[in-house]
C-alpha cells in the first residue's frame, strides 16, 4: 500500500450554521462533498452531484445554491446555512412546521434541499402564487410526494409568516 497523500490541500474557513469551521480541502472537492466529508455537515444530501436534483441545496450568505455546483474552495469566508441551521431563521422555522403539518416529506432525502430552496423563495417573495412556488422549486427533485403536499406546505408557511408579520 502506498499511503502518500492526495493532491495538495488548502485550508478553507466557513461559517456553517453559525459556527466557524475550517478544513483542508482539495481543489476539486465540490462544496457538498466538503460539507459532508470534511466538515461533517451531513444535512445536505447527494442525489446526482450534477446540479440536477437539488438535494444538496444550502443557503450561501442567505441565497440558495446547489452545493454540488461549486467548489468548496470557492466558499472561503462565506456563511452557509443547512437544514440543521434553518430552525434559527423565522422563515426556516415556519417552513419546517408547515412541512410537518402538510405531510410535505416522505423519505426526507430531498427535504433539506427543498427547505433551503423554499427559504430562498419566501425571502424574495412573501406571497408567492402556486405557479411561483412550482417555478421556484423546479430545480429540486422529489420522487415520493408528487410535490402537492410540498406546495401546500410552502403556501401555508408563507401565510403563517404574513399573519405573524401583521399581528
Amino acid at each position: 500500500m502506498n499511503a502518500a497523500p492526495f493532491s495538495s490541500t488548502t485550508k478553507v474557513k466557513l461559517t456553517i450554521d453559525g459556527h466557524e469551521r475550517s478544513a483542508d480541502l482539495e481543489p476539486r472537492d465540490l462544496l457538498v462533498i466538503a460539507l459532508r466529508e470534511k466538515y461533517g455537515a451531513t444535512a445536505p444530501h447527494i442525489g446526482c452531484a450534477s446540479g440536477r436534483c437539488g438535494a444538496c441545496t444550502v443557503l450561501l450568505d442567505g441565497e440558495p445554491v446547489k452545493a454540488c455546483m461549486m467548489l468548496g474552495v470557492q466558499a472561503e469566508g462565506r456563511s452557509i446555512t443547512t437544514a440543521a441551521g434553518l430552525a434559527g431563521t423565522r422563515i426556516g422555522a415556519a417552513l419546517q412546521a408547515a412541512f410537518k403539518a402538510c405531510h410535505g416529506l416522505q423519505c426526507g432525502y430531498c427535504t433539506p434541499g427543498m427547505l433551503a430552496a423554499a427559504h430562498g423563495l419566501l425571502e424574495r417573495n412573501p406571497a408567492p402564487s402556486e405557479d411561483e412556488v412550482r417555478q421556484a422549486l423546479r430545480g429540486n427533485l422529489c420522487r415520493c410526494t408528487g410535490y402537492q403536499h410540498i406546495l401546500d406546505a410552502v403556501l401555508l408557511a408563507a401565510e403563517s409568516l404574513r399573519e405573524a408579520q401583521a399581528a
Partner: protein, 789 residues
C-alpha cells in the same frame, strides 16, 4: 392555504387513533437535517470502494490489469473475478417454476453482458482515491454482437446472452382458462392491437449504499444497507458470500426512497462484505447516479399483443394476451416473477371475461436487469386491460365508462378467483366508478369535448379502473410460484415500566411513515396516545425476523401484526391490573390512565401496572413476567385494492403537446389508517405513473448505454391531484386494510393514454405508446391523416 379536507370521500370520523390524520412522528429529525442515511455513517478506519464497470453491452475479455491501480496512492485492495476460487453469484429468490435462472456474478468473469456491469473493485482511503485508482484499471475488451430489445432477442439468429443456453428465453408463463378461439369466433366483434409498457428507471433520490464492517476478533459483520427488507438482505448476503447468518447484522437506517430496487442484493453489497473480511476494516460504497441508472434494477419493459372479442354492446367474450418481457442480462431477485405472476394473474382486471389466454415470455437481453418497480407487474396488467376496454368501446362507438359497467364483476360475484388465478376479495366497482365520474364531471366534459371539437380543439377524457393485489403471502401460495420468501410479517410490542410502549416491526419504512401509522394502530389497542409509542425498524438484532416492505404489504400484513401483538399485550395488562387490584377481570374498569372497580376505592395507574409486570414481584405464574408479545402475522389471502382514475387532457394538434388538465383518483384501499399519509402515497404514485405516461423512458441508447437523464417529473410538470376514497373493507386481515402504496403508479398510465387516444380517435389515431412525447403524438396524427372518423 390549508390542505384540502383529508376526509374527502367517504371516510367516517374515526373513533380512535386509526383513521385520524395524525402528523408524522418521524418528521422532526428529517426536517432539521438530522436524518441518518447510510452515507451519513462513517466508521472508525473507514475505507471506500469504487467499481470498474463495463462500457460495452456485450464483450469478452481475458485480462483485467489492476497493477497501476494497486500502486495508486491510498489503495488497499483491488479485486477481480480471478481473486475468487469459487466466484459467488447473486441468485434470484423468486424463480418461476421451469425457468432458467442466471444470477449475476459478483464481478464479471471473462464476459460482460450489460453496460455498467462491475468487473473490478478498488478499495482505498477515500472515495476520491478509490475512483482515481479505478480509472487506472485496464480491461482488454473484445466487443461482441448484442441485443437490447426483447423482440429481437427471440429470433434464432439473435445474439445469445448466456452462451450455455439454446436461446434467450428465461421463463414462460401461460395462465388462463383457454377456449379463446372458440369464444372469439362466436363473437360478432374482434380486434387486435399491440402496445408497449416501456422500461423505466426507478430513480429514488438516495441512490443505493452499503457500509460493510467485519470485525475479525468476533468474526461478526455489520452491514449498513439502504434497504427495504433488512432481514431478507441479511439472508441474501449470507447466502451469496457463504457467511453465517447468525453472525451477520443488517442495519437499514433512514432510507431515501425505495420503489422496489432497494429490496434486492446486488454485486456491490457482496463485494464490500468480502473486501471488509479481507481487510478487517469497514468498506463503504455509495452509488453514484451514473451507476444507479445502469446497475440498479429497472422496471416494466413489456411488448404486448392483444386479441379481444366482444358483443356489439361491448360485453367481453374472449381475451388473448401475448407478452414479451425484457428482463435484462441476468435474472434479478424477483425478475422472473414480476413479469409473469404479477402481470398474468391480473390482466382481466375487474371484469368478467369468459375465455382468457395469456402467454408471457421473459427474455434475456444485453441490458441492465429488470425487476420490481412501484406496482411491479400490476401496472402492466392494468395498462393492457384498461387500454383494451377503451379500444373495444371506441371501435364499437360506445362510451368507455358504460363498457366498463357492462363488464364489471358484480358484488354478488365477489369474493372470486379469476380464471387467471387472481384473487378478488372485495369490490364495489360501480360505486367507485360513479364517484370518480361524478367528481370529474364526466357528462359535462363530454359536452365540452364535443363543442371543442367543433372549434378544432382536441380534448380527451380517460378512465382507468384498476385492480391489483397487495399484502403478499400467504407463504403456501408463494411456494407454489417459486417465491422463496416469507409471507408473514413480525411485530413485537413491549410495554416499558413507565407505561410507554415499543413496537418492533419487520416492515421497514423508506418514506411511508410506519413510525406514525403503526403507533396509531398500537395506540388503539393499548389505550395510550401514539406519542407514547416508539416504533423500531431496520435492525436485524433488535427486530424479530421479518420480511419487509414491498407490494404495499406494510399496513395489511405488518400493521395487522402490530394490531394482533398489541391486542394480546392489552389483554395481559387488563388481567394483571385485575390481579393486582384483587378483582375479577370482568369487574375491572379503566378510565383513562386509571384502573379501578365499582367494588372498592382501590386504583392503579396504567404505568403502575406496567411497572409491576416488569418487577415481576406479584405476577401470577399463568400471566408470566413482563408485558411483551410477538406476532408473526401470516395472512390467509392477499387483498385486491382497486380504484377509478380519470384524466382530462388537452392536446395541441400543431405542436403535439399534451396538457394534463385534471386528474381525479378515487381509490379503495379498505380501511385507511391515516388519511393524510394515505393521500401522500397516492400523490407519489401518481407522479410516477404520470411520469411513465408522459416523459420517462429508460430504454438504453442504440449502443447499449443507459439514458443518464431520464426525465423524472419536476415540480412544475404536474397538476394538482384530486383524490378521494371509497371504503370497502377487506376480510383478509384484522385491520380491513388493502394496501395503497402503488395505486397511483398503476392507475395513471392507462387513464392518461386513454385520455390522449380519446382526444385523437376522431382524427384517426388508434394507438399511442408511452411516453406521450409531442414528437410521438405528432407522428401518430401524421400517420392517421385521412383515416379520421
Amino acid at each position: 392555504m390549508k390542505p384540502e379536507n383529508p376526509y374527502a370521500g367517504e371516510l367516517a370520523e374515526p373513533e380512535g387513533w386509526v383513521g385520524r390524520a395524525v402528523e408524522r412522528l418521524e418528521d422532526e429529525r428529517l426536517l432539521t437535517g438530522a436524518g441518518r442515511y447510510v452515507d451519513d455513517i462513517t466508521l472508525p478506519g473507514q475505507l471506500y470502494a469504487a467499481f470498474v464497470r463495463s462500457p460495452h453491452p456485450h464483450a469478452v475479455f481475458s485480462q483485467v490489469d489492476t497493477m497501476a491501480a494497486s500502486d495508486a496512492p491510498g489503495v488497499h485492495l483491488c479485486l477481480t473475478a480471478s481473486d475468487f476460487d469459487d466466484l459467488p453469484h447473486v441468485k434470484p429468490n423468486w424463480i418461476l417454476p421451469r425457468s432458467t435462472p442466471r444470477g449475476r456474478p459478483i464481478l464479471a468473469k471473462g464476459r460482460v453482458r450489460y453496460v455498467g456491469e462491475p468487473i473490478a473493485v478498488v478499495i482505498a482511503e477515500s472515495a476520491a482515491a478509490a475512483r482515481d485508482a479505478a480509472e487506472l484499471v485496464e480491461v482488454d475488451y473484445d466487443p461482441r454482437p448484442f441485443v437490447l430489445h426483447q423482440d429481437e432477442a427471440l429470433g434464432d439468429s439473435a445474439p445469445r446472452v448466456h452462451e450455455d443456453m439454446d436461446n434467450n428465453v428465461a421463463a414462460t408463463f401461460t395462465p388462463g382458462n383457454g377456449g379463446f378461439d372458440e369464444a372469439a369466433s362466436a363473437a360478432p366483434f374482434r380486434t387486435r392491437f399491440s402496445l408497449r409498457n416501456q422500461r423505466l428507471v426507478p430513480f429514488s433520490i438516495e441512490c443505493r449504499a452499503v457500509n460493510a464492517d467485519h470485525d475479525p476478533a468476533s468474526e461478526r459483520m455489520t452491514l449498513h444497507i439502504a434497504h427495504q427488507l433488512p432481514h431478507m438482505a441479511r439472508r441474501m448476503v449470507a447466502e451469496t458470500i457463504g457467511f453465517p447468518e447468525n453472525r451477520l447484522r443488517v442495519i437499514s437506517p433512514d432510507v431515501g426512497g425505495g420503489f422496489g430496487p432497494k429490496m434486492h442484493i446486488y454485486q456491490e453489497e457482496a463485494v464490500c462484505a468480502l473486501a471488509s473480511m479481507r481487510l478487517g476494516r469497514p468498506v463503504k460504497w455509495t452509488e453514484r447516479r451514473s451507476e444507479n441508472v445502469c446497475n440498479t434494477t429497472h422496471g416494466r419493459d413489456h411488448a404486448m399483443s392483444i386479441d379481444v372479442a366482444a358483443d356489439e354492446d361491448g360485453t367481453l367474450r374472449a381475451l388473448r394476451i401475448e407478452s414479451r418481457a425484457n428482463i435484462g442480462a441476468y435474472m434479478s431477485s424477483m425478475g422472473s416473477g414480476i413479469p409473469t405472476i404479477n402481470v398474468g394473474l391480473f390482466v382481466m382486471g375487474v371484469y368478467e371475461i369468459p375465455a382468457v389466454e395469456v402467454d408471457i415470455k421473459c427474455l434475456y437481453t444485453h441490458t441492465p436487469p429488470v425487476d420490481a418497480y412501484r406496482g411491479a407487474g400490476r401496472p402492466e396488467a392494468s395498462y393492457v386491460i384498461e387500454r383494451t376496454i377503451d379500444r373495444v368501446a371506441h371501435e364499437l362507438g360506445l362510451d368507455p365508462a358504460e363498457v366498463r359497467r357492462r363488464n364489471f364483476l358484480t358484488e354478488d360475484q365477489i369474493p372470486r378467483r379469476q380464471p387467471t388465478g387472481a384473487m378478488i376479495d372485495s369490490g364495489r366497482y360501480h360505486h367507485t366508478l360513479d364517484e370518480a365520474l361524478e367528481r370529474a364531471g364526466y357528462e359535462r366534459f363530454r359536452r365540452e369535448q364535443a363543442e371543442a371539437r367543433e372549434r378544432g380543439e382536441l380534448l380527451g377524457i380517460g378512465i382507468a379502473h384498476y385492480t391489483e393485489s397487495c399484502g403478499v403471502g400467504p407463504g403456501q401460495v408463494q411456494k407454489l410460484v417459486g417465491f422463496d420468501r416469507g409471507g408473514y410479517e413480525s411485530a413485537r410490542v413491549r410495554m416499558t415500566s413507565d407505561g410507554r410502549a415499543i413496537v418492533f416491526s419487520g416492515s421497514h419504512s423508506h418514506g411511508q411513515g410506519h413510525v406514525t401509522t403503526f403507533a396509531q394502530i398500537a395506540a388503539d389497542e393499548l389505550g395510550i396516545s401514539p406519542d407514547r409509542i416508539e416504533v423500531i425498524q431496520g435492525d436485524t438484532e433488535s427486530v424479530p425476523q421479518g420480511v419487509g416492505t414491498f407490494n404495499s404489504r406494510s399496513v395489511p400484513v405488518g400493521g395487522s401484526a402490530v394490531k394482533v401483538a398489541a391486542g394480546r399485550v392489552a389483554e395481559r395488562i387488563h388481567k394483571l391490573a385485575a390481579h393486582l387490584l384483587q378483582i375479577k377481570p370482568e369487574a375491572l374498569i379503566r378510565e383513562g390512565e386509571v384502573f379501578g372497580s365499582d367494588a372498592s376505592n382501590d386504583t392503579l395507574t396504567f404505568a403502575e401496572v406496567c411497572h409491576a409486570a416488569w418487577t415481576g414481584h406479584n405476577v401470577p405464574a399463568d400471566l408470566g413476567v413482563g408485558l411483551e408479545e410477538t406476532e408473526f402475522y401470516h395472512p390467509t389471502a392477499m387483498s385486491a385494492p382497486y380504484g377509478a382514475h380519470v384524466a382530462q387532457v388537452r392536446i395541441d394538434g400543431e405542436t403535439g403537446e399534451l396538457e394534463l388538465l385534471r386528474y381525479i383518483a378515487v381509490d379503495d384501499c379498505g380501511k385507511v389508517i391515516n388519511p393524510l399519509l394515505a393521500r401522500g402515497q397516492v400523490h407519489g404514485g401518481l407522479a410516477q405513473g404520470i411520469g411513465q405516461a408522459l416523459w420517462e423512458d429508460g430504454m438504453p441508447e442504440d449502443d447499449g448505454s443507459t439514458i443518464l437523464d431520464t426525465p423524472v417529473p419536476r415540480f412544475d410538470m404536474l397538476p394538482r391531484f384530486e383524490t378521494a376514497h371509497t371504503v370497502t373493507e377487506s376480510w383478509t386481515n384484522p385491520l380491513g386494510a388493502k394496501g395503497l402504496g402503488e395505486a397511483g403508479a398503476i392507475g395513471a398510465p392507462p387513464a392518461i393514454v386513454n385520455a390522449a387516444i380519446d382526444a385523437l380517435w376522431h382524427r384517426g389515431v388508434r394507438e399511442l405508446d408511452m411516453p406521450l412525447t409531442p414528437a410521438r403524438i405528432l407522428a401518430a396524427l401524421d400517420a392517421a391523416k385521412g383515416h379520421g372518423a
